[in-house]
């Protein structure tokens, strides 16, 4: 019996829909697990969706003197987050045509473009907290950038390309590819960068309003209504994008659709949020077992991640990595 195959454009749209649809849910699961670990009952798993729905119904205000950039930035940043899922293996093991628009570095550039736009909007407000957050976010982003670069170097040495699909295929190919030190070190360094990028302990408290330690969370202080909803939704989507890169490219590139059969794609759409929730559970455990670093200790965290990434490249150059 011949079953109908899904057309490629449909799968490509489904990639984006999976990310933006499941993003808030993964955040909800993490918040729930974290609360349970602390002995609280915690919010509903679907709470982020309700929050978004509520914010979309509210009116939007802008600070006096803010220009159109302030209002355009959340939309533009959200567009960036809609673009990146097209470049990475979200649902399929085989590369989709738009996946060749950009390599792993291109995806990183689009993500940092989104971060830059949000920072510019925060500067536009004139509010000290938002500006402080934007300034800190850019400062520390510059420190984590070398780590990402060295992780990309490792990928390039492992696969002779820097396409995420190629690394995922390499990791699937044999057990030796999984346990080799370069791969383990690069994945660990990337995980530390993701902890920083998603604003988790030990870098930043994700919930609450501790202004002195706020980095990413402080930037959206002045936004309201649908614009704030887009920012929140965007950061949930960014978190799932980064988890997808770690899971589907580095750590666990299994459970992806190998064909265009509808059931395989649907299975992959269910497998990705499930894997992301497991990773989110790990993040929640880390959240509960470490203290937040002082602001000036974050460089130590970045230095540790840098050490891992550099050692990964070293072991590769020796031939035994």
């Amino acid at each position: 019996m011949v079953t109908a195959l899904l057309p490629i454009p449909v799968i490509q749209v489904l990639q984006v829909l999976t990310i933006i649809g499941a993003g808030p849910g993964v955040s909800g699961v993490i918040a729930r697990v974290e609360a349970r670990l602390q002995g609280r009952r915690g919010p509903r798993v679907l709470q982020p969706y309700y929050d978004l729905a509520k914010l979309f119904r509210k009116e939007a205000l802008a600070p006096a003197g803010a220009s159109w950039v302030f209002l355009a930035a959340p939309v533009a940043a959200f567009t960036c987050y809609l673009t990146v899922p097209l470049l990475i293996p979200v649902l399929t093991t085989f590369p989709l045509p738009l996946g060749y628009m950009g390599d792993i570095l291109g995806g990183g550039f689009i993500l940092s473009l989104a971060g830059f736009l949000v920072a510019v909007a925060a500067l536009e407000t004139g509010s000290p907290y938002a500006q402080l957050g934007a300034s800190r976010a850019k400062t520390f982003a510059a420190i984590t950038e070398p780590v990402v670069l060295f992780v990309v170097f490792t990928v390039a040495l492992l696969t002779a390309t820097d396409l995420p699909y190629a690394l995922a295929a390499t990791v699937r190919s044999s057990a030796g590819q999984i346990i080799r030190p370069a791969h383990v070190l690069a994945a660990a360094a990337l995980f530390m960068v993701i902890l920083y990028e998603t604003g988790r302990i030990p870098v930043e408290t994700h919930s609450g309003t501790n202004e002195f330690g706020m980095i990413e969370e402080a930037r959206s202080f002045e936004h309201s209504g649908p614009y704030f909803a887009l920012l929140k939704w965007g950061s949930a989507a960014k978190q799932l994008i980064l988890y997808t890169i770690l899971l589907n490219v580095f750590v666990a590139p299994w459970g992806l659709a190998a064909t265009r059969q509808p059931w395989a794609v649907v299975l992959a759409m269910a497998a990705l949020p499930a894997k992301a929730c497991v990773l989110g559970g790990v993040v929640a455990v880390i959240d509960n077992s470490f203290a937040k670093l002082r602001l000036f200790k974050i460089t130590e965290f970045a230095a540790a991640a840098f050490l891992l990434a550099v050692l990964g490249v070293f072991t590769l150059y020796l031939g035994g990595g």
């Binding site: 696969t159 590819q177 030190p181 130590e300 540790a304 020796l318 035994g320």
Partner: protein, 231 residues
Amino acid sequence: MLPAQAPSVYTGAANVIAVLILLAEFGMFRQALLRDQVRLYAGQSVLIAVLAVLVAAVRHLPELYVLAAVTVALKAVAIPLVLRRLLRGTAPGHPLDVSHDIAGSGGLGLASTVLIGIAVAAFGFFSATVLPVSGGGAPVTALSVSLSVVLVAFVLMIHRRDVASQAIGLFSLENGISLAALVVAASLPLILEVALLFDLLLAVVVFGLLIRLHHGRAETLSTTDLTDLRG
């Protein structure tokens, strides 16, 4: 450019353990509490034993099981115990707290120490590749890692200005040498290796006594005062 070939599972696993040993060394490098430093040393020794068991299982060298057992018993249990016992009471007023003397004894800031550590480790990595070694034990990459461990331990001893972490640096340097021995001469007669281990135990006792003596004279673990003795 061709993609880097994947090592076999055994080579990969052994190299990962070797790299973890190096990371433990880096951990000691930045640790501020003596208690945690001793803990990291014990952990590093356990990793050496795990590697020995792995090499023994794959290369069929049964005497390495004995070595692993002796390593765990001595380096992961006995030496940390002896060190803690000897260091207990070295801090005046806090009979169990030996931590405050070594915090911040480093001569350099953290970012510079990590960069120096990386540079030294890189030197170790690349200098070992020119050696014509093809051992029968652990894979050859582990040899370069062991050289890095030794060099980083040297830097640890040089830049820390307290006797306690200098002693820990020396002991972990011996761990690096054990790692190198697993690569180069895995089938070294067991009696020789055990003799080396007991040498280490002796060094621990001597160092412990030295630390106590120094603390008794100078009422601090810091070695900065020793420069006053220069003529």
